[in-house]
Subunit: 362 residues, 2 copies
C-alpha cells in the first residue's frame, strides 16, 4: 500500500474550467494517478470549485494561486485547463518547476508559443501531452488498424470531419472561448483542433501542403471565429475537409474514404456512451446487378472500453511520468509532435481566414 502510494503520479490542476471536473473524475478513476492539489486565482474560487467537485480538503490541497500548485513538491504533473492566452506563461513555469504537463487544447495561440513551451519541457526533462482524449480510446486504435491495412481501406483519399456544438446565447456574450484577449482562436482552437487532429491521425501525421479556409467563416463582433470550414490538400492528392461551429447542434463526424473502403463515425471526440463505442466500416462494397442495391453495407463495429478515454489519457501520461521519474526514461516525443503538427495546421487555418480564404502553403 505504501509502495503503491509512492508510485502513484500526483496531479495538480491550475484553473477551474468546467473541463477540469471531467479530468478530476478521470484522475480519481485512474489507478496510477491521484489528485494532489487544485489552485485558482483566489482561495474562495478554489474552495467553491473543490466543493462542487466533491473534493475533500483533507485529501486534496486547495490553493488560492497557481504558483502554490507549481511550488508544491508533491505535485508530479500539472493539468492546465486555463484560457489559451495563459498557456505560454503557466506551461513554461510548470515545466521549469519540473512538473510534467497535461495541457488543454488548443495548446497555444500559435506554434511559436507552443515551441517555447515544448522547449521548456524538453530542457527540464518533463513529459508533454495535450488534452485530446479521443486519441486514447481503444476505438481509435482499432480504427487505425483498419485504415492502415491497405487491403481494407486502401489508400486514404478523402477525410471529412466536423466538430460543432450549439452554444447558448449567453456563451456568445461572456464565454472565454469567444473573447479575443483570452481565446482569440475561437471555434478554430476549441473545435477545429479535433478535426485537424483527426485527419493528421488518419494520414499518419503527414502534413498537408495547402491549407485553405473556405467562404462562410462567421465571426463575432470582436472578430473571434464562431464558424469555419477549411480544406487541406496533400501532395499525394488526399483532400480533407473540416467544419467547426458554435452555431450548429452537436456533431463530431469523422469519415475516411479510401480506395477500397470507408470508415464513418458520428461521435469521434466524445463517444455517445462511455462503456462501449462503435464505428461503421465497409470494404469492397460494390453495386449489385443493375445497380439496384449494394453488395455490402457499412458494418457497425463495436469496441468496448473498460475505462473512459480520459482515464486512459491520464493513465498514459502517468505511465510515461512513472518511467521518467522511477526508471530514468526520456520523455516520449510522440505526444509533443502530435500537438505541434496540429497547432501548425491550426495556425495555417487562422492565417487563411485572416487572408480572406487565400490558400496557405505549409
Amino acid at each position: 500500500m505504501a509502495e503503491s502510494q509512492t508510485k502513484t503520479i500526483r496531479f495538480g490542476i491550475i484553473g477551474c474550467a468546467q473541463i477540469a471536473r471531467k479530468v478530476i473524475r478521470a484522475i480519481s478513476l485512474a489507478s496510477r494517478a491521484t489528485l494532489h492539489a487544485i489552485g485558482s486565482r483566489s482561495i474562495e474560487k478554489a474552495q467553491k470549485f473543490a466543493a462542487l467537485c466533491g473534493l475533500s480538503e483533507t485529501l486534496v490541497k486547495v490553493y488560492g494561486s497557481y504558483d502554490q500548485v507549481l511550488d508544491d513538491p508533491c505535485v508530479d504533473a500539472v493539468y492546465v485547463p486555463l484560457p489559451t492566452s495563459l498557456h505560454l506563461q503557466w506551461a513554461i513555469l510548470a515545466a521549469r518547476k519540473k512538473k510534467h504537463l497535461l495541457l488543454e487544447k488548443p495548446t497555444a495561440l500559435d506554434v511559436h508559443e507552443l515551441d517555447r513551451i515544448l522547449e521548456a519541457c524538453q530542457s527540464n526533462g518533463v513529459q508533454f501531452m495535450d488534452g485530446s482524449m479521443w486519441l486514447h480510446h481503444p476505438r481509435t486504435a482499432r480504427m487505425k488498424e483498419l485504415i492502415f491495412d491497405s487491403k481494407l481501406l486502401g489508400q486514404v483519399n478523402f477525410i471529412h470531419s466536423t466538430s460543432t456544438t450549439l452554444m447558448p446565447p449567453e456563451f456568445f456574450e461572456s464565454n472565454i472561448r469567444v473573447k479575443p484577449d483570452l481565446d482569440s482562436l475561437g471555434a478554430v482552437g476549441d473545435l477545429a483542433w479535433y478535426c485537424i487532429g483527426a485527419f493528421l491521425w488518419a494520414k499518419d501525421y503527414k502534413l498537408p501542403s495547402i491549407v485553405t479556409a473556405l467562404p462562410g467563416t462567421i465571426k463575432n463582433s470582436a472578430g473571434v471565429t464562431l464558424t469555419c470550414t477549411a480544406s487541406f490538400h496533400w501532395e499525394d492528392n488526399t483532400v480533407a475537409i473540416i467544419h467547426c461551429s458554435f452555431l450548429s447542434e452537436s456533431s463530431m463526424d469523422l469519415a475516411v474514404s479510401g480506395s477500397n473502403g470507408n470508415l464513418h463515425l458520428a461521435d469521434f471526440i466524445i463517444p455517445f456512451r462511455e462503456d462501449s463505442a462503435s464505428f461503421e466500416f465497409v470494404s469492397g462494397a460494390k453495386y449489385s446487378e443493375l445497380q439496384i442495391g449494394w453488395t455490402a453495407k457499412p458494418e457497425e463495429l463495436i469496441v468496448d472500453s473498460k475505462l473512459p478515454q480520459e482515464v486512459l489519457m491520464v493513465e498514459e501520461l502517468a505511465g510515461l511520468v512513472e518511467g521518467i521519474r522511477d526508471y530514468g526514461n526520456s520523455p516520449n516525443g510522440k505526444w509533443p509532435e502530435i500537438s505541434r503538427k496540429t497547432q501548425l495546421v491550426l495556425d495555417a487555418v487562422m492565417k487563411s481566414i485572416d487572408l480572406g480564404c487565400k490558400p496557405v502553403n505549409l
Copy 2:
C-alpha cells in the same frame, strides 16, 4: 383492359447504356408505363441489347436507329441514356417529335445546351425530367419533412455530400464517361450531379452565391476530371462541400447539419436495399453532465418502399404525361427547374476547375 392499355404511357429508349437495363426493369414494374421500343445505332446492337434485357420482339419494337424510335407514333415518352455530348441533338429532336423526355444526367454539357433542350420541350408542350432517381424515393420526402421542420433540424448550416465509385482499370481507358468528346464533364457530370442535387434539395433549391473547386482535382491524360472536391457558399452563410471520385470505393454520403439537429445517410443515391431504406437523425442532442456522453444519439429512421425509386420516377413521369395527353394539363415546371439549377451549379464547378480553383460567383 383495353382502356388501361390506352392509358398506359409507352416508352421508347434510345441508346443501350447499362443504366437503360435498370430503367427497362423500372418501366416493366411501373403500372402506368410500358416499354414500346428501343433503338440503337445498328439493328445488331439493338437486338443484342434486347436479348440481354430479356425483351420479346413481339412486345417491344427493336429499331436500328434512334430516329425510328422518335418517329414511332406509339411512343409517348423517350428515355435518353446517351453520352452527354449527344443529349442536345437527340433531346431536341425528341421534343420536336412531341415525345416527353426522361433525360439521363448530366442533362447537357452546359446550361446553354440545357436551355435549348428545355426551350424545345416547352414549345412542344412535352414534359421534361432528368434521371435523378433518388429524388423519387419516399425516404427523400421523409427526410425533407425533418429538414424543413424548424423545430427539428432548425436552420441548415452545413451540408456534406460524396459520390464516389471505384472504377476498374479498363474504365479509365475506354469508358465514355472519361472521354472528352463524349462526356467531357467526367466525374463532375456523372457523380457530382447527385451531390449538387442533394444540397440544392436541402436548401429548397436556393442557389449558392460562390462556387469554389478545391485543390486536389485529378484529371486523366485527356483532361477529364476523375476526382473533384468543391465548396459552396450561400449569402446566409450556409456552406456545402461535395466530393466525387472514380478512384475511391463506393460512397454516397449526405449529411445535413442544422442549428437544432443532424441528418446523415450513407446511401442517398442508391439505397443499400430496394425494399427498405433508412437514415439517421437526431435533434437537440446535448452532452451529458461532465461531457462524458451524449443525451441523445442519432436514431435510425426506416422508410419502406413498395416500389424501387426508379419505378417511382417512371410512375411520376408517366402520371404527368398522362395528365398532359389525356387531360390537357401543362407540363410540370418543377422538374426542369431542378435540372436547370443543378446544371447551373455544375457549370460553375467546371469553371472553377478550369480557373485553377478560383471562386466563381453565381
